[in-house]
Amino acid sequence: MENQNIENIQFPKELLDEVQRAVSSFPEGKQKSALIRTLHIAQAHFGYLSTPVMDYVARLLHIQPIEVYEVATFYSMYDTQPVGKVKLEVCRTGPCMIEGAEKIVSYIENKLGIKDGETTSDGIFTLKTVECLGACGYAPMLQAGEKFHEHLTEEKVDALIEQYRLKPVANYMGQE
């Protein structure tokens, strides 16, 4: 997202409502508990968690910016740098590895011409290897946005890359 001055950063009404719902599920004065959810919403809407976005979240929840920074940098799902529209997160942990996750990763690397952690030049795909996503019986697998793609084969990877290239779903939003 270009031009991220804090003045330009504002959630639309429906997202403000979503934040409000999260806040109201906690007792009065414990609104900080809604931080993790709010950061998910912010990342989905703004693409990644830039410093101005984090400052905006801090103001929304009436907490200090440092309280947001330390959380945003602790949890692995948050991106504090720009990423592609679709993050392909391939599970690399034990059970997926023995079922061929490494081959799937190299296949995607070759197909997209990027390495683990990189983004394609058209800004559509970011490839990331991640730790166990809880799909060990359906290995190998990857997560794109909220969607789990399981029992991966090279053919399935081809198809899903094609699908996301035509219609890049925003990260996090929209379960199919």
Partner: protein, 450 residues
Amino acid sequence: MSRKLLLNNIHVEGIHTYDVYRKTGGYAAVEKALKSMSPDDVVEEVKKSGLRGRGGAGFPTGMKWSFIAKPEGVPRHLLCNADESEPGTFKDRYLMEKIPHLLIEGMILSSFALGCEQSYIYIRGEYMYVLRILEKAIAEAYQNGWLGKNIKGSGYNLDLSVSPGAGAYICGEETALIESLEGKRGNPRMKPPFPAIQGLWQRPTVVNNVETICAVVPIVNEGGDAYAQIGIGRSTGTKLISAGGNINKPGVYELELGVSVEEFIYGDQYCGGIKNGKKLKACVPGGSSVPILPHYLVCKTAEGNDRLMSYESLADGGFANGSMLGSGGFIIYDEDQCIVRNTWNFSRFYHHESCGQCSPCREGTGWMEKVLHRLEYGHGKMEDIDLLWDIQRKIEGNTICPLGDAAAWPVAAAIRHFREEFEWHVKEPNACTTRNYGLVKEKVFEKVNA
């Protein structure tokens, strides 16, 4: 045939919806408890049932509940641990995705028993689509009067909501989960004070695994004594096992505790044997943290008794010759798999997931990953094997939370049972850089199978 208590209706069309769940007997346990039981009666039934925590530690649930402090005027909280992240484990996801109302019903019963009026389900951020399923089900439960004020005229009030994590294995540890739910980094707390005294927002708190809370439903329906009749010895009831790795039928299975490991691996109603007709090399029976068992200790204990799927039998032989039931993340390795590579993979996981608070874990997990990496990629020395042993020994027991132990145990067990395979990686460095598991088989497997 093994009895099912949680998954008996899993294949009923539409069971994820309120109407179907209700028609198949759902929420009957809540009706029963609110009408004819006191909170203490529910705790008593859970105590009688012998139910043990299904998240990994196996601590008796009724006893855990009885520790909760009840100071006057201070709210108490029940938190459901849906942070399922132990490699090999995917049972809670299955339960929540397929039959979300079972968890909600269990949450109502458990919250009632503990006297909580505000409960939370903390779910890992990667399961965001499951969070949406749960939120939809919770909305249905509110609409039908099972949540909110004065539930079914009983005078009992309960609010329930779901809160996500954002990708941190450590938040499955109960005090880290509490920190995370407070909107902070998931750094585990020192105990004492225990969460039962000072947990969420310093209030008395109980944290239970998804499957544990679901099991309260059949316990209330059928009574604690009836539940205790199922299973074997102190391993009562049923357990969900998530089976993965090189097997014909990976998936989630509910089994009566006490089924033999052999039947579970080779039986047609369970894993259906090793894939592609290969031989069993090793098994991690309870999630990546528990000690790996070499093939000759999987179906039999060191004394030659049948090994059973139960807390006691899987632990038979201690860490020298046994393992743990853990979270029920059951991973099978066939003859082609490389133990050094797998151990390196797990060490990388723990290094990645260490919260960084305690030096032995923060530094030690990284050292283990590095040493295992050089062994696997053919740059290792013989001393490295002893170095690994030394590092894991110095992590275990020296950290605030059990992540340190969880990182140490798989390394220790791999060296204990597969030392020759580690040595072979030093002696034949070129072969192991090829990732050619066939060579591992040729060199090591004769020995292992002998």
